[in-house]
């Protein structure tokens, strides 16, 4: 397959004539799309669906929230996503709903009625995005079931209302499955294409392996929550793009007594329950990564492969002893996750290699696992410091200690001196204090917009002190007080 430069999307009148086809309100829309054409621009400027707004073009404000539906037997799996950093090829073979879809039949949806009755809109610009997030909750879209409304809309920003009326509107509409029989039938009539100008969308990892050998250096895109910004903000040409979001055999989670093997294509929200079963701290960490829309697109595999210096998942996974598997052709190699990160922006991955899965061992019974993300804002923020501890105590002595941090160096990394100060020592306040001081020797963090070096060093040590305080019966989390406040 030859690589051609990206071309702009344009609508094609004959259904089935474009290289990307999706179902929109019962109709098949077929467009010819380049790899990095955004779904938001397609909606707003080609399809004239201007209810979906651009607020930030980086997946942080949720004004462009739409629902994307994958066929799943006789049902549709819906998920709220940010259209601004969703590339058009990622729509192929799926169903799409925009705010206009909700009143396509003439009547407003109950979510919309509640938003009106409770004065949930002021300037109105963020409103369609909120409506879509709440609508997603009302139909049981991914990552919303059983979640508080505040979590469901954590990826939507409103600058006018203070959120109260929107939260109330969300509470007022019960969740229940929608009737998607028509959509299921419609989706069956769509044939996916597996490539377009400058892009490929393989359906098996074997195909991916072949494509990588044939196109070394091709940009792998799973959820585009990071790569999307390279396009919208940095205006980069990505070269050949391989979309892996629909590779079924990369989208599996194996849960065994030994641990979890998470395929590179598994989205955050899909990992949350299994990770929470491994340890509740991991579930809470996932909750605080992005908003629902980001967790419905982004993958742990992508977070690792792109090697963000913060990379909120890697510190936790490293502390648990995660092992990464990479594949090149038919060859596979595995390594401790911390060894994958070489230096800032540089990972141990060859140009024709790809991340296949990450294995997370189940913590031994009695292991104290603590993961804390320190941010300016609790929800939908990237940490200044992310600290993860896995500490085993045997008869009052530390029998194993793995400590890893993000935000403290150019890469997520273990804290060797801190670990050494804990290992083999009596599990006591004095040991913890020693280890916290040792931690200060492990890292030379930087000053940046998220925090000063001094804060990072102090807070990192305090995370260990806080762990000890908690073990000693102290209340330590301000979040715990929110729910039990009178």
């Amino acid at each position: 397959m030859a690589i051609r430069p990206t071309v702009a999307a344009e609508t094609v009148t004959n259904p089935g004539g474009g290289n990307v086809s999706f179902l929109l309100d019962g109709e098949i829309v077929s467009v010819t799309a380049g790899a990095t054409d955004s779904v938001l621009d397609l909606l707003r400027y080609k399809l004239r669906r201007t209810g979906t707004k651009e607020g930030c073009a980086e997946g942080d404000c949720g004004a462009c929230t739409v629902l994307l539906g994958d066929p799943d037997g006789e049902a549709v799996n819906w998920r709220a996503v940010n259209a601004c950093i969703l590339f058009v090829p990622m729509l192929d073979g799926k169903a799409l709903k925009t705010v206009e879809s909700l009143s396509a039949g003439g009547d407003l949806h109950p979510v919309q009625r509640e938003m009106i009755d409770r004065h949930g809109s002021q300037c109105g610009f963020c409103t369609p995005g909120f409506v879509m997030s709440l609508y997603g909750r009302s139909v049981g879209a991914a990552g919303t079931t059983g979640e508080p409304v505040a979590d469901v809309i954590a990826g939507n920003l409103c600058r006018c209302t203070g959120y109260g009326p929107i939260l109330e509107a969300g509470e007022a509409v019960p969740a229940g499955p929608g009737d998607d029989a028509g959509i299921v039938a419609g989706l069956r009539t769509i044939a996916r294409s597996n490539a377009g100008p400058g892009w490929f969308a393989p359906e098996t990892s074997d195909e991916l392996a072949e494509l990588m050998l044939a196109n070394p250096g091709a940009r792998i895109v799973a959820g585009a929550t990071d790569v999307g910004l390279w396009v919208t903000k940095q205006h980069r040409d990505l070269g050949a793009v391989i979309f892996i979001g629909d590779i079924a055999d990369l989208r599996t989670i194996e849960e065994t007594p030994d641990g979890l093997r998470i395929g590179a294509g598994v989205r955050y929200n899909e990992t949350r329950a299994a990770l929470a079963r491994l340890d509740p701290q991991l579930g809470e960490l996932v909750r605080r990564i992005g908003g629902v829309q980001v967790r419905n697109s982004g993958t742990i595999g992508g977070n690792i492969a792109n090697g963000s210096p913060i990379g909120d998942m890697p510190p936790a996974l490293i502390a648990l002893g995660a092992v990464l598997t990479l594949r090149r052709g038919d060859e596979r190699r595995s390594m401790a996750l911390e060894d994958f990160f070489l230096s800032y922006g540089k990972q141990d991955r060859a140009a024709d290699e790809f991340v296949e899965s990450v294995f997370v061992p189940r913590p031994a019974t009695g292991t104290i696992v603590r993961v804390t993300k320190l941010t300016k804002r609790f929800d939908s923020d990237i940490s200044a410091v992310c600290g993860a501890f896995a500490i085993s105590i045997d008869r009052g002595v530390v029998s194993a200690a793995r400590v890893a941090f993000g935000g403290m160096a150019g890469i997520p990394a273990r804290a060797a001196r801190c670990e050494a100060a804990l290992f083999g020592q009596e599990w006591s306040g004095a040991t913890v204090e020693h280890a916290a001081l040792a931690l200060a020797e492990d890292f030379r963090p930087l000053d940046d917009a998220r925090g000063s070096a001094a804060y990072r060093s102090l807070a990192a040590g305090n995370l260990l002190r806080r762990l000890w305080a908690e073990q000693s019966g102290e209340k330590v989390s301000v979040l715990d007080l929110v729910s039990d406040h009178d």
Partner: protein, 764 residues
């Protein structure tokens, strides 16, 4: 009987359009044929001599139609509101990072943005003053320091039994309106241009376009249907965008649209002013202030913008609700090589008010008194009721509101519970604070306090209203529609709100200073009342009764023995050749101000409120949460309680963001590092306090004859969030009782909280 519109919780006139995605913002309008898309070329670095710009590579990009610099401006290169010092494009000198250098016109947004990055800019970097301290040391100011004084502060300070001093730094704030800056210009015949702009100030945009293009005001029409949020950020800051679009339209004869990418928007446009506040206060053993000196210094940025008035308003609010018997307030307005700071909800008021509330906390900690009692003994009262600018406070309801809130929210019981919690916990500490707000209503630049309206009654009984106010989400249009509906006793849905246009009402003021409903509501009322009077005269003649006896009711118009449906009245009046349209005009009475002596009556009245906030901090990480908030706020007689409650809650949460999570970080060249929502964190739904109890003060009544005795609501409740900062200060103080007032600056990020805890504990 009559169901009055005014006073009822009518929903926002665009609510249904908002939720359905049908409300049209400028970028939603179907693009006209031949549309050009624009992108600014921005200065990457800060202060520098601009030696030249090589635009060949920009022009060479396929799809680029034109590139325009300062040399292409036919009129004056100025988009400033007051002083004439804001260049549309830099000319000779680059004043700050993000300053526009040129604009690219291309056939697509992406082409324009990519091409704009290809310019080769030749500069000679110059030293940059970026902080308040640097500018102060260098004597770099936009205008001379201002002094407001009453009594002999120095003598009172010397004589006072207790005297303390301190400083407080407070950061700025990005507006983060969800709809970024955007404008669409369409050329008309004979050199005219029609511009759709997302602006709070259409008249100013009109005037600036005329100035830059070298044409008359009458050649330019500016239209605003709605903004996707503004908060002050579209008062002056919309100008560069609208003017650039108009310039390209004039140059090319083609329609031109510009919408800013969020990162560019945040880098290019001004923000709330950072302030540094110093105080020196003398007081009695019961906490009464005897004398005080307050020294304010703000970072104005590279140009004047509205900084003079903003800093004046900071001085006007450095008393808040408190009697300062001998007072001197000095205000430094510093010029730096950073983006020019601008209007933002509260307009300097929040900064002045935060300073005096810090003083209250400082006195309380120093004397070991309950902070609320210190606040209460210092409140304005009969005989103690003259402000530092010599205006007598005649509508002081702060004491009643505070007492009512303290009672209703159980201040004393909860303060005790907080103390008990703090005694039992070492890692987590709670804090609780009740702070009041008194906010002056009127533009302090007196001539701006005027408004015009146009009411059109059609022969079918439907009504259009137009006025100079703009809709940014605050519910101005529905409030004014309610006022007009009641004049004719018709349902509010009979009144059609239309876009704000400079060709309907001329020479308008910005929709700002919380004045929208006060000014435009009254102007519209007068316009409607003029038509109503004509109808009454006409019906009196027709049915042989006194015009004064004609009554407009929900059932129709009663004239003599007749009951005539309103639409029939309109039809009859039209046939009888009665004029059914009128303008209305309002100029706020009673206000005057002498800036030379900083004395007079700058405000028609004050809006009041109070809030109690309870917070918890983690002393090991600095993380914190607002747990509960109780608010009692005075909106006079509410025009629309639902809208007012929405303003109060939204303003509070926005104020909370300013004081907690929202941090602007600049580098040493003045480049903003937090220029996107990934790094600049406004509150999310999860930050909203789990319990918020917001009430309108039932006894509220404006003693001045404002529209239906209502009070302005846009800005005042923003400052209720000072209670959060005060509560956080109390929580930090609880980590080391007896060691004094924590050195906590704003915003109280986890980092600042943790460092303040450490500093306090380390004190001897």
């Amino acid at each position: 009987m009559t169901e009055r519109s005014v006073g009822a919780s009518r929903r926002h006139d665009s609510a249904e359009a908002h939720v359905a995605g049908r409300a049209v913002y400028i970028d939603d309008i179907a693009e006209p044929p031949g549309l050009l898309h624009l992108a600014f070329g921005l200065a990457a670095d800060g202060h520098a001599r601009l030696l030249g710009i090589d635009l060949d590579a920009v022009r060479a990009v396929p799809g680029v139609v034109g590139v325009y610099t300062a040399a292409d401006i036919p009129g004056v290169n100025d988009v400033s509101p007051v002083k004439g010092d804001d260049r549309l494009f830099a000319d000779g000198e680059i004043l700050y990072p993000g300053q526009p250098l040129f604009v690219v016109a291309a056939t697509s947004v992406e082409i324009a943005r990519r091409a704009a990055r290809k310019a080769v800019v030749d500069v000679e970097p110059l030293p940059a003053l970026t902080t308040i301290a640097q500018a102060k040391a260098a004597g770099s100011v936009i205008e001379e320091a201002q002094r407001m004084a009453r009594g002999d502060a120095a003598a009172a300070l010397d004589a006072a039994p207790h005297r303390i001093s301190g400083t407080l730094e407070m950061g700025g704030q990005e507006h983060f309106y969800l709809e970024g800056q955007v404008a669409l210009a369409v050329p008309g015949e004979d050199g005219q241009v029609h511009v759709l702009s997302s602006t709070q100030h259409p008249s100013e945009i009109q005037h600036l376009i005329a100035k830059v293009l070298g044409c008359s005001h009458a050649d330019v029409t500016v239209e605003v249907r709605r903004m996707g949020g503004a908060f002050g950020g579209k008062e002056t800051q919309a100008a560069a965008f609208a003017v650039a679009a108009a310039l390209v339209a004039a140059k090319t004869g083609r329609p031109a649209k510009i919408r800013a990418d969020r990162d560019d928007d945040m880098a290019m446009t001004g923000k709330r002013h950072e302030f540094s506040a110093g105080y020196d206060v003398g007081f009695t053993p019961d906490g009464r202030i005897a004398g005080i000196r307050i020294e304010l210094a703000s970072r104005c940025g590279a140009t004047w913008d509205l900084s003079s008035a903003i800093n004046d308003r900071a001085m006007f609010h450095a008393d808040n609700c408190y009697w300062l018997p001998a007072v001197e307030i000095v205000s430094h307005r510093l010029k730096t090589h950073t983006v020019s700071n601008t209007a933002f909800r509260g307009f300097g008021g929040p900064q002045g008010m935060l300073a005096i509330e810090r003083v209250m906390d400082a006195i309380a900690v120093h004397l070991g008194l309950d902070p609320l009692s210190v606040r209460q003994v210092n409140l304005y009262a009969p005989g103690r009721d003259v402000t530092p600018y010599h205006m007598t406070v005649t509508d002081n309801v702060a004491p009643e509101i505070i007492a009512e809130l303290a009672e209703q929210a159980e201040y004393a019981r909860r303060q005790a519970a907080v103390a008990e919690f703090n005694a039992r916990n070492t890692v987590l500490k709670k804090g609780l604070a009740l702070t009041p707000v008194k906010f002056g209503i009127s533009f302090t630049t007196t001539h701006l306090n005027q408004a015009g309206a146009l009411v059109l009654v059609y022969a079918d009984g439907s009504i259009q209203i137009n006025h100079g106010g703009t809709e940014m989400g605050q519910g101005l249009m529905i409030k004014v529609a309610q006022v007009v509906a009641d004049v004719f006793a018709v349902p509010v849905d009979r009144v059609r709100v239309t876009s704000t246009r400079t060709d309907k009402v001329p020479n308008t003021s910005a929709t700002a200073a919380s004045s929208g409903a006060d000014l435009n509501g009254m102007a519209a009322f007068r316009a409607a009342d003029t038509v109503r009077a004509r109808l009454a005269d006409f019906l009196g003649d027709r049915f042989g009764c006194q015009a004064g006896d004609v009554r407009f009711t929900a059932d129709g118009v009663v004239a003599g023995d007749e009951l005539v449906p309103f639409e029939t009245v309109c039809r009859m009046a039209h046939l009888a050749r009665v004029s059914l349209s009128s303008t209305g005009f309002y100029a706020t009475p009673h206000i005057h101000y002498d800036r030379a002596t900083h004395s007079g009556r700058p405000f028609l009245y004050f809006a009041y409120g109070a809030a109690l906030s309870e917070v918890v901090i983690d002393t090991l990480t600095g993380e914190h949460r607002v747990l509960a908030v109780d608010i009692l706020h005075d909106v006079g007689r509410s025009l629309n309680p639902a809208i007012d409650l929405g303003q109060i809650e939204g303003a509070f949460v926005q104020g909370m963001g300013w004081l907690t999570t929202e941090e602007l970080v600049y580098d040493d060249r003045g480049r903003l590092l937090t220029h996107a929502p990934s790094t600049y964190k406004i509150p999310t739904a999860g930050d909203r306090p789990a319990r918020m109890d917001i009430r309108l003060w039932a006894a509220g009544l404006n003693v001045e004859a404002t529209i239906h005795r209502s009070k302005a609501v846009g800005e005042p409740p923003f400052m209720l969030a000072i209670s959060v900062f005060s509560a956080l200060t109390a929580a930090v103080a609880a980590t080391a009782p007896g060691k004094g007032l924590p050195a906590l600056d704003a915003p109280a990020t986890p980092e600042r909280i943790l460092m303040a805890v450490g500093e306090l504990r380390a004190r001897g």
